[in-house]
């Protein structure tokens, strides 16, 4: 949605000499920190995440960075102007079902809205195809609100927002008292059409404050003012359920930072890829869902901008999950039907597809047919792959990668872990190769091919679903496992090139410092096409005023604020809505509205195919979005000069590895990434070992190290 202009001035802290930006991202396994200041190299810190006391891991990680810089945490924080943070605290609360006992108020007559999940939608939502085909073994996830904690409230608003039945305030007070009596500590409120008329919901919030001041209250019109009562209700419920934990977490973190000498601004990452001041983020727990992957995509976009790639597929494959985000013409798409832990919700969120596939995916044979499958079961972090020697007994994809020569047992993870390849080989031969009637090497090659082919299929499906062609994209490969496969699947997808970013290890933290403070506003109302510019301006005027007031409260100067407007349009009688950027300056003209409609039609055709438009039915605008952003300073990545093409200095020797083109083992050059220099060119077949991952360059491919130390794989 945004054309990015060059980074500008600093945020609120215009204080004495504080010059660092510290960004810490709490991920599922690791907590990463990145520290930068203009004109200084980037510093990195890494530690293990520490659920449920995530703040401990945050300070471990900051300490790790401070150690690398040779300063104390106190010194670093005293010298820091901005702390940017992303955390899995909300995702974790949902995953572990650790949230508050939550009550729910709904419009009388519609008490089952949450629990019946629009029919089977909540039963099959979030399941893989294999499981969908087996309905007898499917169920909804256990709901976050017990059915006996739901109360119907007499009230009714219609589709225009007109009150048909006034709110029964006494019934509200009674219901709240009964829910508190039942032990509820949080309350979600979701009435029909509240996004058009929030009066009744707001009254409930006021009553709750009076009769149960300790109750954590979340009203749907505030948290998700959009149509669709099931998704809106579910969002309010998630926000209530995780709300107190998220708020306590953010407040505690802020306190701890202050205790350790920090006195700048703290910003929290949101799932839509923007930052919010900590105080605002604390009461929007739902916004923090999956903010790590969102930051990853933001980081990828920043890197793409730097490298001149505006079309990027960001693929992240670690031990357990494979995540894909798509950046098209520098823009990010919002997820249409976001889910968290199989719960639907509705909030602006960057579309990142996540499936259970990674190095830990278990390789197994269908006992009936002896055909091998990779996943969906995973050995996870524990016991993990056999070759890690942590008790794993089932062969995983990582074991297969080790068997085909891609990993050096001695220098894995910078030499911190030794791989037991023999154990992997024995188990693989017994469990997989022998039953298949194949030699272990051949079977391992085959499974590597299957894994690469299935990733190809998956990325293809994700891009095609969005009306895009992978051939127009650069692929960014993140995560510990991606680099081992990306040469093969990248070539089959025929992407322009594959980039394994230098910052891959801390990409989410990198994304945090590449993000802006963003407030998202939207209004759901229908305008016909054509509509005069004034009608649209009238909708936006109050939103813009709200945004200015908000920024003012955050002490952010007007000079750094940008507004991006986008409108959802659709053809009448069809269901697909397309968010179309409104390309207009401050003053909206009728000409700009006409261009909006043209853009919509072009986008629609691109996304849904030729002949999909049904103009005769007419068009309408259904949602008006405002993205208000305050531009932040970007990290200055140092671009190195080329040291020449020859990678000789980094050459570690040769090793026999699997080479796809030969369909067998063949000698390949082995390189130490730490000694590769900008400008070096590596000819495949080659394997590059970095401290955090391994990059395989297949025969016929070229690996280049660019000025930012990214590894770029190109095909012939």
């Amino acid at each position: 949605m945004t054309k990015r202009s060059p980074p500008r001035t600093e945020t609120t802290a215009k204080r004495r000499g504080a010059r660092y930006v510290v960004a810490t991202d709490v991920g599922g396994t690791c907590t990463d920190t990145i520290v930068f200041a203009v004109g200084e190299p980037v510093h990195i810190g890494k530690s293990l995440s520490t659920p449920p006391n995530f703040a401990d891991g945050v300070f471990d990680s900051i300490k790790s960075a401070a150690d690398a810089m040779g300063v104390s945490v106190g010194q670093l924080l005293a010298d820091t102007a901005l702390f940017v943070h992303g955390s899995t605290v909300v995702d974790n609360t949902l995953l572990t079902r650790d949230g508050a006992k939550t009550g729910l108020l709904l419009t009388e007559g519609f008490e089952d809205t949450l629990h019946v999940t629009r029919g089977a939608y909540g039963r099959w939502g979030g399941l893989t195809e294999d499981r969908i085909k087996h309905p007898v073994k499917t169920d909804r996830p256990a709901p976050l609100v017990d059915l006996d904690c739901v109360r119907g409230i007499p009230e009714r608003v219609d589709y225009k927002g007109a009150v048909l039945r006034p709110l029964d305030e006494e019934a509200v007070a009674r219901a709240i008292a009964a829910l508190v009596e039942r032990g509820c500590r949080a309350l979600a409120v979701s009435f029909l059409w509240s996004f058009h008329n929030a009066e009744h919901e707001e009254r409930v919030a006021a009553i709750a404050k009076r009769v149960a001041p300790d109750l954590y209250v979340s009203v749907s019109s505030a948290i998700a003012p959009v149509p669709g009562e099931y998704e809106r209700t579910s969002t309010a419920v998630i926000n209530a359920y995780a709300g107190r934990i998220a708020r306590d977490y953010v407040n505690r973190l802020t306190e701890l930072l202050a205790e350790r000498g920090y006195n700048g601004t703290t910003l929290i990452m949101q799932g839509y890829g923007g930052l919010l001041p900590a105080a605002e983020a604390a009461d929007r727990s739902v916004g923090m869902i999956e903010c790590g992957p969102a930051a990853g995509v933001i980081g990828s976009r920043y890197l793409g901008d730097l490298m001149g790639d505006r079309d990027v597929i960001a693929a992240d494959m670690g031990g357990t999950t494979f995540k894909v985000g798509v950046i098209q013409a520098g823009e990010l798409e919002y997820a249409r039907e976001p889910m968290v832990d199989r719960f639907h919700y509705i909030a602006p969120k960057i579309d990142v597809v996540s499936i259970g596939a990674g190095g830990g995916s278990i390789v197994a044979l269908d006992p009936r047919t002896k055909v091998p499958r990779v996943g969906p079961r995973s050995a996870g972090a524990r016991p993990g792959p056999i070759c890690y020697g942590q008790g794993g007994t089932e062969p995983t994809l990582t074991d297969v990668l080790a068997l085909i020569g891609y990993m050096d047992p001695e220098i894995f993870l910078g030499g911190t872990m030794r791989l037991d390849i023999e154990a992997a080989r024995k188990a693989f031969a017994a469990r997989i190769a022998r039953p298949m009637g194949m030699k272990p090497d051949e079977a391992a090659f085959g499974i590597y091919r299957i894994a690469a082919a299935q990733i190809t299929d998956l990325i293809r499906e994700i891009t095609v679903e969005r009306g895009l062609d992978p051939r127009d994209f650069t692929l960014h490969a993140f995560g510990g496992t991606c680099g081992l496969l990306c040469g093969l699947f990248g070539e089959e997808l025929a992407v322009k090139r594959v980039v394994v970013p230098y910052t891959a290890a801390v990409n989410c933290a990198f994304g945090l410092v590449a993000a802006d403070v963003v407030h998202e506003y939207s209004v759901t109302t229908t305008l016909p096409v054509p509509s005069p510019a004034q009608a649209i301006e009238a909708i936006y005027a109050p939103l813009v005023a709200r945004a200015h007031a908000q920024f003012k409260a955050e002490d952010i100067g007007r000079e750094r604020i940008r507004f991006d407007r986008a409108i959802d349009l659709r053809y009448r009688r069809q269901v697909h809505e397309v968010t179309t950027p409104l390309r207009a300056d401050v003053k909206l003209t009728d000409r700009a509205v006409a261009r909006l409609v043209e853009d919509f039609e072009a986008l629609y055709q691109r996304k849904f195919g030729k002949g999909s438009a049904y103009r005769e039915a007419g068009m309408e605008m259904t949602m008006f979005r405002l993205s208000a952003r305050a531009l932040m300073t970007r990290p200055q990545l140092e671009k190195r000069r080329s040291a020449g093409a020859s990678p000789k200095a980094a050459h570690m020797g040769k090793r026999r590895v699997f080479v796809a083109a030969k369909d067998g083992f063949s000698p390949a050059d082995i390189y130490d990434f730490e000694r590769l220099e900008s400008g070096n060119v590596v000819k495949g077949p080659a394997v590059i070992h970095t401290p955090i991952t391994t990059i395989v360059v297949q025969a016929g491919q070229i690996g280049r190290i660019d000025g930012y130390r990214n590894t770029i794989i190109e095909f012939n």
């Binding site: 089977a120 039963r123 969908i132 309905p135 909804r140 006996d148 091998p372 299935q454 009448r572 049904y614």
Partner: protein, 609 residues
Amino acid sequence: MDPITFEIIRHRLYRVVEEAVITLKHVSGSAITNEGHDLMVSLYRADGSLLMGGVGFLHHLTSAAEACKHIIRTFAGNIQEGDVFLLNDPYTAALHTSDIYLVHPIHHKKKLVAWSACFVHVYDIGAMNPGGFSPESRDIYTEGFSSPGIKLVEKGAVRKDVMALLLNMVRSPEMVALDISSMIACGNVARERMLALIDKYGFKTVDQACRSLIDQSETLLRARLKELPDGRWEARQFLDVQGEVYRVTLAMTKKKDTLTFDFTGSSPQSPYGVNCSYWAGWGALFAPIFPLLCYDITWNEGMIRPITMIAPEGTIVNAKRPAPVSIATVGAIQSVNNVACTCIAKMLSASEKYKDEATAVWHGSHVAIFLFGKNQKGGESIGIMTETFGGAGGARAFADGIDLGGEIPNPISRMANVETVEANFPIRYLFRRRTQDSGGAGRFRGGAGGEYAIVPHDAPDGGIHFVVSGKGIQYPMSEGLGGGYPASPCSYQWVHNNEADRARNVDAKFAQSVDEMPGRKEPISWGVFPLMGEDSLFVRWNGGGGYGDPLVRDPAAVLADVQARVVSREIADRIYGVVLNGEASAVDEPATRAQRKALRAARFAKAAE
């Protein structure tokens, strides 16, 4: 063949279907396709046999195979690269006229190598009643446009005369044109992706993989059947229309590695469009077989080989032309689904290994309502009430059925939000919720069905009209399993002048149940009706069947059901024998023991009468 290439090609064939489905949904943009998932895309071999069935309405996988085969027979020598054929005649292969098949031949180097077929439920097909279901029709002639096979696209170019002919016979021709375009685009994508696959691996390898895939499915299903005990199981359904009742009876015989489904004894065909044709009955049989017996097997021709169907001609499950069949998909087809589900479940129950796969019947009867008329924005609205996709899960051997859990033959359906419906139609809901005591009682309870009531709201014409083609009113259709009770039946009530007397009855406007509605209630189920002025329409759909004896249900589960309002106290007491304390916060255990003992004794006493 080598298992690696096989696995890669298998995965990719599946993606071909997926990509084609995406195209279908994208281009069509209709609510029934996108929300109801009322669609299907599958791949077929050069001879028309099913190669790879996708997740959609599963009745169609085998019927579309027959459509391919019929085109092969009738257009022999005239099937060219880039052709597309349209077929929707139920007496040739389709289910009913409004589910149009488009059949695409796929040529590689001038040779016919495969087919793709797809369908969507088109906006209208020109039958007596709008929307496809035509309750007033008494023969196929009045059920709209019907083609036993016609070339719609010739060598890549749409035959404008044919398209004009079709569009000339339907309401909302623009929307039907869009539906047709979506299917053409879908087939083009399937062809393109299939050819890319052949280009990469070579025709011989792909062909071999396809053959192996089919053989593998056959081997797997036969192996599974061998693991199951031989036997013969019976099931029966009553299908009531307009007060008349028809039987669908099934005797399923399993012998070694074969299954025979015998419908002998089913009622003669009906004058109403609930009948189904042979291929519809055949497809209806497979819809439960795929997910209940073959959940881990690729859905293709191989699974069809071990299976035989006997369906006497002229019966409700194999009607003779010109019997009407436009309601088949929510008529006899559903009854065939249900009896097949029951017999398969009984067979699974007789196996130690597979007994947990058994399920009582899900969502025995649809509640098909089509609304049509002028909406609050002045435009025309036509569309299905998607609550019919809400469904209800049958109880299982290890767990309750899922409340509003959908249905077996359409694994990924869903219903629209109330707000979506109120935004697009000039109606307002009074309530929409699970129906108390609707799931069949049992050790595991059947999933609850639902109920709703609507009234006109801001309608420029004072209201709207609707087509209803209901069955399952007099008879429960979601049978129980192993002692589980059948679920409650469906109900449609036209409540006259419900809101007229507002002065005396302010709350009537917001009635919370059909009992609270003061208007005169007229049961309806068949035909076209107005929803005007102060009237309202109440619809209730069935739950899922129960599993096992209700008297051994865990009392704590009954308590939870009562607290969640899914089961009434009365039924907890009378059917489950569970007595709760005064405020229904706990089970009264001594009273429960006594009540259960009394109910057991009564079982003998009653019998002695």
